[in-house]
Symmetry: C2
Subunit: 159 residues, 2 copies
DNA sequence: GGTGAAAGCGAGGACCA
DNA sequence: TGGTCCTCGCTTTCACC
């Protein structure tokens, strides 16, 4: 829990790696004007310190037939810790829920959900999400278009 | 742009690759009970067909000192196409905006935004986001906790 | 941070079942 | 389609400037 000791080169490495998580030390080194060894050492350090949480493959869910993506906002009937935990544990087990964040504001949780079509989405909210423990209110906001991708974070806002 | 022709093995490959985007064909093959070659061929196909959109590195922005993450909902004063485009082009250039989706419902766009602290976030919404072309209303929902990660999509909801 | 080098392994093709 | 070599090239990783 700190933000120490990350210089411009580290940020460049992270930016490059974010765009392509499979860059080798050699390729990476070239992009940030270094040689493979020190570059590799930096990456290792970033991994060890947890700045790099992991390497993921980005999947186009629409190509898999999931044509509906929505942000689903949920408020719970009780905010007591154990009640909330029951909901959160349950939501983790729903595969159609890609992510879930506890948020401030009008609702308690925001989920990112996918479904094959509107029918499937309807069933999902009604019989699965609506039935999760403690759910009081459900608000849906469908994703109409991705304007800026989830894949290009950090273009050096630091410094 | 279809869903067809992806069997259980393909889904297993995608699931494995999502958890670790750096798996080699050999490691991957082992996890899905195959040998490297056919496994590699499947991955290649998934890449070619665009199911695999790319390989990314997941970064812990808090470790970089970005302690505030928020979903920012925005509604525009006009919904005319060129007006919307002006906003979207501008939002893409703001590095603190990690993602931006056009959504249905009370607001037009949902952004994911990071900032070093609340002060910085305040400045950002007031002077940067609030000043983007066409912005009429801004609603902020702070992320209090990540319950289910953005990194574990697709645990085989298909089939 | 840079260099050099050793050992290893990973990609990708040819070919068969 | 899956399986088995095979092989070249590159990557990793270390010891030393």
């Amino acid at each position: 829990m700190q933000s120490k000791n990350f210089d411009r080169t580290d940020m460049e490495i992270l930016a490059a790696l974010q765009g392509n998580g499979r860059l080798s030390s050699a390729e990476l080194a070239e992009r940030v004007s270094l040689t493979p060894s020190p570059c590799w050492r930096r990456v290792k350090r970033l991994e060890d310190e947890g700045v790099i949480r992991g390497y993921r493959t980005e999947i186009d869910v629409r190509k898999l037939g999931f044509n509906v993506t929505a942000f689903v906002l949920i408020s719970l009937d009780q905010k007591a810790a154990e009640r909330v935990k029951a909901f959160e544990d349950a939501v983790k087990r729903v595969p159609e829920v890609l992510s879930c964040h506890c948020v401030s504001g009008r609702y308690d949780h925001q989920l990112t959900v996918i479904a094959r079509d509107l029918d499937a989405f309807g069933e999902l909210t009604r019989y699965v999400l609506g039935a999760l423990p403690g759910v009081k209110e459900v608000y849906t906001s469908f994703v109409l278009k991705e304007v800026k991708g989830s894949g290009h974070a950090i273009s050096l806002p630091a410094e």
